[in-house]
């Protein structure tokens, strides 16, 4: 028989969430993105509260579905309730250092109020070319040093 997921098992859930990526940012886990707000476990029930990065992000419902599916596959979990909450504000400061590094490796400059640093050559000879990008959370910049366009995560 599977062990019941007790109250102090929320750590196991957090650990599992570290392996689930944002579908639009496969390099960064939901935990490193800072969108996991609260995890509660009671017997074999799990409740996860997430914070939306952008209210209109089209990935929100996909993220909720993936989290529910992944957590249901854990031993001892029978029901999973995933909700997006507005208890507190998600800001780009919630990104972990590991998350910022993962973004950079993926070719997206981490959020910064200073001049964006090119994720490819680390130059600051950069120019913001558009405040909008391929996803609500990103903008587009150009590096004059390595002559590459790149994306910048928005500061919120």
């Amino acid at each position: 028989m599977d062990a019941a997921l007790g109250n102090n098992h929320s750590q196991a859930v957090w650990k599992h969430l570290e392996n689930i990526a944002d579908p639009e940012l496969p390099a960064v886990s939901l935990v490193d993105l800072g969108i996991v707000h609260r995890v509660e476990t009671e017997e074999n029930r799990v409740k996860v509260e997430l914070l939306p990065t952008f209210i209109g992000c089209p990935a929100l419902s996909v993220i909720a579905d993936v989290v529910a599916r992944e957590l249901r596959s854990l031993d001892g979990v029978e029901s999973v309730d995933v909700q997006f909450v507005y208890d507190t504000l998600w800001t780009s400061e919630r990104l972990t250092e590991r998350g910022k590094l993962a973004l950079k490796r993926y070719g997206i400059a981490p959020p910064s109020l200073a001049q964006p640093v090119c994720p490819y050559c680390d130059s600051v000879e950069t120019e913001l070319t558009s405040r909008f990008g391929p996803a609500p959370c990103r903008m587009v910049a150009y590096c004059h040093h390595c002559q590459q366009p790149f994306e910048v995560f928005k500061t919120l």
């Binding site: 509260e49 504000l89 391929p134 587009v140």
Partner: protein, 263 residues
């Protein structure tokens, strides 16, 4: 996908009159965002550059997301779903400002619309951000952060269009064409009177703040601020133009064909 239910209780527990006032306000906010988002989405593929295509698409996506945020609260209060608000309401049930339903003009007029609306939206969102209804206040703070990018973009374009040549001529024409349609934008219809109770601020001071912001920015661009029309509740009471019919007919086309379709 569900949102937190903690606030649902609070909203539902409000006395009937207050709850209905909130519903009026939420519907105005939602319908404005939806109309603005729909018209912005029409620019995808038509804007003068690929960056502007993406900008309009991104702005549209944000506004539609904000609309969904408001509709979710309304759907809960009225025990229905978000799609019922978007796809199954006749024009007279919509509460958006007439200015936002107008058919697409040229690029100068479209950018002017984004700018005028987002300046107003920022002012009312600031009021909403300190309201007593916590999840709405947090949502408003979030939207303000997102809208900052729209405002910066629109302000930069206003400056660029005002810099001279054909762009300035078109912008001047757009100003003359747009201002008479602004009568019901800075308005909350039947909720105007209860605004101090809900948002701690009255409609006149919100409206004045917006007019001042717009006038000062136009002056900085050495553009003449046209006369402001007398405030009216027009769209806030469901009085719309033929443009709204056109918007709804396009937007609901697929859902009318296939009512059982899942979005």
């Amino acid at each position: 996908m569900k949102d937190s239910t903690t606030a649902e209780i609070a909203l539902e527990r409000l006395p009937k009159e207050q709850r209905e006032a909130w519903q009026t306000v939420l519907l105005i906010l939602a319908d404005d965002e939806l109309a603005a988002g729909h018209r912005a989405s029409e620019w995808l593929g038509l804007a003068p550059s690929v960056e502007e295509d993406i900008a309009f698409a991104s702005i549209a996506q944000d506004e539609l997301g904000h609309a969904r945020f408001y509709y979710q609260w309304l759907a809960r209060l009225e025990n229905t779903d978000v799609d019922a608000f978007v796809f199954r309401r006749p024009s007279a049930d919509w509460r958006n400002a007439v200015f936002l339903e107008r058919v697409r003009g040229d690029f100068a007029e479209a950018m002017l619309r984004v700018w005028l609306y987002d300046e107003w939206d920022a002012i009312r969102l600031k009021a909403l951000a300190s309201c007593s209804f916590a999840p709405l206040a947090v949502g408003a703070k979030k939207m303000l952060c997102e809208e900052e990018y729209h405002l910066e973009h629109a302000r930069a374009w206003m400056k660029r269009l005002a810099s001279g040549g054909e762009a300035r001529v078109r912008l001047t024409t757009a100003l003359a064409h747009s201002f008479p349609a602004l009568a019901d934008l800075a308005d909350f219809g039947s909720a105007n009177f209860v605004l101090p109770e809900l948002l701690g601020v009255d409609i006149h001071s919100l409206r004045d703040e917006w007019k001042k912001e717009v006038a000062e920015r136009l002056e900085a661009l050495r553009l003449v601020c046209p006369a402001w029309p007398e405030p009216q509740s027009g769209g806030r009471m469901g009085r719309h133009t033929e443009d709204m019919q056109e918007l709804l007919s396009t937007m609901t086309e697929v859902s009318r064909w296939l009512p059982e379709v899942s979005w």
